[in-house]
C-alpha cells in the first residue's frame, strides 16, 4: 500500500469509535483510540488488552466499536493479535489491518513478553500503546512507565525510578517501524498510524495519553499537557524507520519542566513546602538529556 503524502496527511474522522463510552471527561486514551481507529478505517480488527480502554468502551450491549473487537486478557493482546494474523494467513484471507492495543501496564509490564514474542516472530501487526503512565483502571498503581516523582496509589511519596524506554526497546527488536505521538497533534498521530499500516511486519506506536483522573488535572487540559510534555523535552516525538531515527520533532521554544509538572496533581507534592526541588531538578535533567540525545 503506497499512499501519497496528501493521503497520509489527511485528517480522518469516520466515527468508528463512537460516543457513549464510559471514559472520564477529557480522557486522553479515549481520544487517542478514536484517532487511531478512524485513521485505520473499517478494514481493521482491534485486539485490546484489559485496561481502561477495554472496560470503558466494550460493555454489553452497547460497545463503542464499529469494527471487530477482541478482548482476551490483560497480558496477551499481542498473542491474540498474532493468532488472528496467523489465522488470516492460513485461511488466505485479507489483507486486513490488525491492531493490538493496550495501556502502559499491559505494554511495559504484564504483556511485555507477548509483545516481544510477536515482534520477534515478525507478525504483520501494529501495536499501539496508550501510555497514561500508571495502571489507571484498577486505581492508579505504578507501572514501569510511571515517571520519576509521580504520585500513584502505590508510590504515595512519589515514584523513585525513571520511566522505561519502550520505543527504543521495540526498535531494538529490529522491527521496521516505531513512532511516538501525542493526542494534541492529531494530524501527526493519524499519519503515523497510516504509515505504520502501510508497512509489512510488526510495528509499534507509543502514544502519550493524559489521564485527568490519575494525573490530577482538569479534563480540559489534556491537549495542553501533551503540548507541554513535548515542549519540555520529556516526551520526544520521532519515528524509527528500519532502525533509523527520523522526523524528530524540534521543540519551537523550550519550556522548563515545572510548567508541565505544576498542572498535575500527581506532582503537586514536589512543589509543596518541604517539597522536592532535587526531584524537579532531576526531572529537568531527564528533559535535558532527551533534548541532547534526540536533538530536539
Amino acid at each position: 500500500m503506497n499512499q501519497s503524502a496528501e493521503e497520509l496527511n489527511k485528517v480522518e474522522k469516520k466515527d468508528l469509535f463512537t460516543s457513549g463510552h464510559r471514559a472520564c471527561g477529557g480522557c486522553g486514551q479515549a481520544l487517542a483510540a478514536r484517532l487511531v481507529q478512524d485513521a485505520s478505517g473499517e478494514n481493521t480488527i482491534a485486539c485490546v488488552a484489559t485496561g481502561c480502554l477495554e472496560v470503558f468502551s466494550s460493555p454489553y450491549p452497547d460497545p463503542s466499536w464499529r469494527i471487530p473487537f477482541l478482548h482476551s486478557l490483560f497480558e496477551n493482546a499481542s498473542a491474540v493479535a498474532s493468532g488472528v494474523e496467523a489465522a488470516y494467513k492460513a485461511l488466505k484471507k485479507g489483507p486486513v489491518n490488525i491492531i493490538a492495543q493496550g495501556g502502559d501496564g499491559s505494554t511495559a509490564d504484564i504483556g511485555f513478553q507477548s509483545i516481544s514474542g510477536m515482534f520477534e516472530r515478525g507478525h504483520n501487526v501494529l501495536y499501539v500503546c496508550y501510555d497514561n503512565e500508571a495502571y489507571m483502571n484498577t486505581g492508579v498503581q505504578r507501572s514501569s512507565f510511571t515517571p520519576l516523582g509521580a504520585r500513584t496509589s502505590t508510590t504515595p511519596m512519589g515514584n523513585k525510578t525513571r520511566k522505561k524506554n519502550m520505543p527504543l526497546i521495540a526498535a531494538n527488536h529490529g522491527i521496521p517501524y516505531v513512532a511516538t505521538a501525542t493526542v494534541d497533534d492529531f494530524r501527526d498521530l493519524q499519519r503515523k498510524v497510516k504509515t505504520a499500516l502501510s508497512i509489512e511486519g510488526p510495528k509499534y506506536i507509543h502514544i502519550l495519553a493524559p489521564c485527568p483522573l490519575g494525573w490530577g488535572h482538569h479534563g480540559e487540559l489534556t491537549v495542553e499537557i501533551c503540548r507541554l510534555a513535548k515542549d519540555t523535552g520529556l516526551f520526544p516525538i520521532y519515528e524509527i524507520v528500519d532502525g533509523k531515527m527520523t522526523n524528530v520533532k524540534k521543540i519551537p521554544v523550550k519550556v522548563p519542566v515545572q510548567e508541565y509538572l505544576k498542572l498535575q496533581g500527581r506532582f503537586s507534592h514536589l512543589f509543596k513546602k518541604g517539597g522536592s526541588p532535587e526531584i524537579i531538578a532531576e526531572i529537568q535533567q531527564i528533559a535535558n538529556q532527551n533534548i541532547e540525545r534526540y536533538n530536539l
Binding site: V11, S19, G26, H218, G219, T222
Partner: protein, 550 residues
C-alpha cells in the same frame, strides 16, 4: 435442533447507546462573541465580518456590503479614521494589530471602482424626515432612514455637501472625488439634497418641524475659535477652519513666506501641511510638548516628515502688526507644571522669555464652536447641543448628533451617531419604545488560545516620497494592492466567531461534536457530551464557552 451461533451475537443497529451527557455539570455552547474591534468602532462596523469575508472568500463585494450595512463612507473612513478598532484588536497582544483602516479603504475603493450600490431594506413609506447638515452625521442619518423607506431631505448651508469631510479635511488625505462618489451613492437611495439653505436663517427650524415627521440636526461646529490676544482681528490672521475652507473651495490664499500655525490638534497639522504645500515655510507653535499634543501620532509624524517646524513650550501673547497686517508674534516660553483638570501638564510662563517670531500669516487652529445662528435649542455646558440618550433634543421630534452634540470628534463617531439617531427616529415615528441595543460579551486576548496562530508581519501602507507629496495635493498614500489586503485580512484571529478550524470536532474524546449535514456548522451532541471543556479550551477564537448546566 435449531443451530445457535457460537457465543453472543449483538445486532449493533438495535443498540441504544448509554447517554453519558447525563454526567455533565458544565455545558459547552457556541456564542458569537463581540470582537474588540467591532466594540471599539464608533461607527458600529462589523470589522471581523468584512475581514473574514476577505480572508475566506476573497470577496471584496460582500465585504463592501458588510461595511456599508453600517457605514456609507468606507472609502472616506479608510483614509481619515483614527481607527480605534486597531487599538482594540486582540492581535496587538500577539504581534501587531490588523491594518483595519487600510483594509477598509481597499474595500471602499473597490466599491467605488465597481460601482456597487446600496440596497433598500424597505421600499417606501410615507413619513418624511428633514436632515439639517450634510456632514457625516447628517448623511449617515439620511442613509439609514432612506434604506428603511423614509422620505428624507437634507438642508445644507454650504454650496456643496460633505461638511468637514468636504471643507475641513485636505485633499491630500481625502480626495474630493472619493467623497463625491460616496455621497452620490447615498443620494441614489432617493435622498433629496438642497444646498445653500441655512436653517434658522433662510428657513426657520419650526417650519421644518411642522412639515416633517421628525428633524435631525447634524450641524457640526462650523465656527473657528481664535485665542484672545491683541491683533487677532488683523486681515492676515485666520482660524484653522476658515483657512482650510478657503483652500478647499479652491480659493487662492496669499500666505507670504512665513506661516505660523497655533495649536497642537489635527486641524493645526492639516493647516500646517496645507500651507507647506502652498509653498510657505511653516512652523507650529504649541504651549506644551509633543507628548501632550491632541493630534494623532501619525499626523504629527507626517507633518514632521514634511519639514514643518515644531516650537514647543511656546505661547503667543501678542500679534505684532504693521499697517493692520501681522508681521510676527510675540511669544513667551512656558514650563510644564503639575497636570491640570484635563490631565495634561499645566504650562506656566517663564518670565523674561519673550521672543519675536516673524510671520506673514498666522493661523489659529485653536478650537471650533457650534454656529447657533437662528437656532434656539437647549445646550449642555453652553456649548454643545443637549440630547437624551436616544439623541432627542429638548424639542419634541428634533434629534441631533455628531460634533454639534459630542464636541470635536471624528467622522466615524458622527456616522455612528447618525445611525443611532435614525433608529431612534424610526422608533419615535412608529411610536415604539426605544429599542435597547444589547450585544454579546466582548472577547479579550486572554480568552483566546493563540497557540493556533502564527506571527505574521502587519501590512504597512507606503507613503509617496516627501518630494512628491509637497509638489501638490496628491494623496499621500497611493492605492493598495488588493491581494496584499487579502493576506492582511487573513491575519484576523476571528475573535469570537468560528472559522472552521475543526479543533472541537477532532478533539472531543466523546465524539460529541458533529458537523451539521444541513448547515455545515459544528454542533454539540448533548446526549453524549460530558462537559470536559476540552473543546472550549482548544477553540482558538473563544467561540465555545462553558456555561452552567441548565
Amino acid at each position: 435442533m435449531e443451530k445457535l451461533p457460537l457465543g453472543l451475537v449483538l445486532d449493533l443497529r438495535k443498540v441504544v447507546p448509554y447517554k453519558t451527557g447525563s454526567w455533565r455539570t458544565l455545558m459547552p455552547i457556541n456564542i458569537a462573541h463581540t470582537p474588540p474591534c467591532n466594540n471599539a468602532c464608533p461607527a458600529g462596523n462589523d470589522i471581523r465580518g468584512f475581514l473574514r469575508v476577505l480572508a475566506e472568500k476573497k470577496d471584496y463585494e460582500q465585504a463592501w456590503h458588510i461595511l456599508t450595512r453600517t457605514n456609507p463612507f468606507p472609502a472616506v473612513c479608510g483614509r481619515v479614521c483614527p481607527h480605534p478598532c486597531e487599538g482594540g484588536c486582540n492581535r496587538r497582544d500577539f504581534d501587531e494589530p490588523l491594518a483595519i483602516n487600510c483594509s477598509e479603504r481597499a474595500v471602499g475603493d473597490y466599491g467605488l471602482e465597481n460601482n456597487l450600490q446600496h440596497k433598500k431594506l424597505i421600499d417606501t413609506r410615507k413619513e418624511k424626515v428633514a436632515v439639517i447638515g450634510s456632514g457625516p452625521a447628517g448623511f449617515s442619518c439620511a442613509f439609514h432612514l432612506a434604506k428603511r423607506g423614509f422620505q428624507v431631505k437634507i438642508y445644507e448651508a454650504n454650496s456643496e455637501p460633505g461638511g468637514m469631510m468636504r471643507y475641513g479635511i485636505p485633499s491630500y488625505r481625502q480626495p474630493n472625488y472619493i467623497l463625491k462618489q460616496e455621497i452620490d451613492n447615498i443620494l441614489r437611495l432617493g435622498v433629496e439634497l438642497e444646498c445653500n439653505v441655512k436653517v434658522g436663517v433662510n428657513i426657520p427650524l419650526d417650519q421644518l418641524r411642522n412639515e416633517y415627521d421628525a428633524v435631525f440636526l447634524g450641524i457640526g461646529a462650523q465656527k473657528g475659535l481664535s485665542i484672545n490676544i491683541p491683533g487677532k482681528d488683523a486681515e492676515n490672521v485666520f482660524t484653522g477652519v476658515e483657512f482650510l475652507r478657503q483652500v478647499n473651495t479652491g480659493k487662492w490664499v496669499e500666505l507670504g513666506n512665513d506661516v505660523v500655525v497655533i495649536g497642537g490638534g489635527n486641524t493645526a497639522m492639516d493647516c500646517a501641511r496645507v500651507a507647506k504645500r502652498l509653498g510657505a515655510n511653516v512652523s507650529i507653535v504649541y504651549r506644551r510638548t509633543r507628548m501632550e499634543m491632541p493630534a494623532i501620532t501619525a499626523e504629527i509624524d507626517e507633518a514632521m516628515e514634511e519639514r514643518i517646524m515644531f516650537r514647543y513650550h511656546t505661547n503667543p501673547v501678542k500679534l505684532i502688526l504693521d499697517e493692520g497686517r501681522v508681521v510676527g508674534l510675540l511669544c513667551v516660553q512656558m514650563e510644564l507644571r503639575e497636570p491640570d483638570a484635563s490631565g495634561r501638564a499645566r504650562p506656566v510662563p517663564i518670565s523674561g522669555s519673550e521672543a519675536f517670531i516673524p510671520a506673514e500669516t498666522v493661523i489659529m487652529a485653536t478650537g471650533q464652536a457650534v454656529d447657533y445662528d437662528g437656532i434656539e435649542i437647549q445646550t449642555a455646558d453652553k456649548q454643545w447641543i443637549y440630547t437624551n440618550e436616544y439623541l432627542m433634543t429638548n424639542m419634541e421630534g428634533v434629534f441631533a448628533g455628531g460634533d454639534a452634540v459630542v464636541g470635536l470628534e471624528t467622522v466615524s463617531l458622527a456616522i455612528g451617531q447618525g445611525m443611532r439617531a435614525a433608529s431612534a427616529i424610526e422608533d419615535y415615528i412608529e411610536g415604539n419604545k426605544e429599542s435597547e441595543l444589547s450585544q454579546p460579551p466582548v472577547v479579550y486576548s486572554r480568552e483566546l488560545n493563540t497557540y493556533y496562530y502564527q506571527p505574521v508581519k502587519r501590512y504597512e501602507k507606503e507613503a509617496r516620497s516627501i518630494h512628491m507629496r509637497l509638489k501638490g495635493f496628491k494623496e499621500v498614500y497611493p492605492a493598495f494592492d488588493q491581494d496584499d489586503i487579502i493576506s492582511e485580512a487573513d491575519r484576523c484571529f476571528s475573535c469570537g466567531l468560528c472559522y472552521d478550524c475543526g479543533n472541537c470536532y477532532m478533539y472531543c474524546p466523546d465524539n460529541a461534536v458533529q458537523k451539521s449535514k444541513t448547515t455545515g456548522f459544528y454542533e454539540f451532541d448533548y446526549d453524549f457530551c460530558k462537559g470536559c471543556g476540552l473543546c472550549a479550551k482548544e477553540c482558538p477564537c473563544h467561540y465555545i464557552q462553558m456555561t452552567l448546566e441548565k
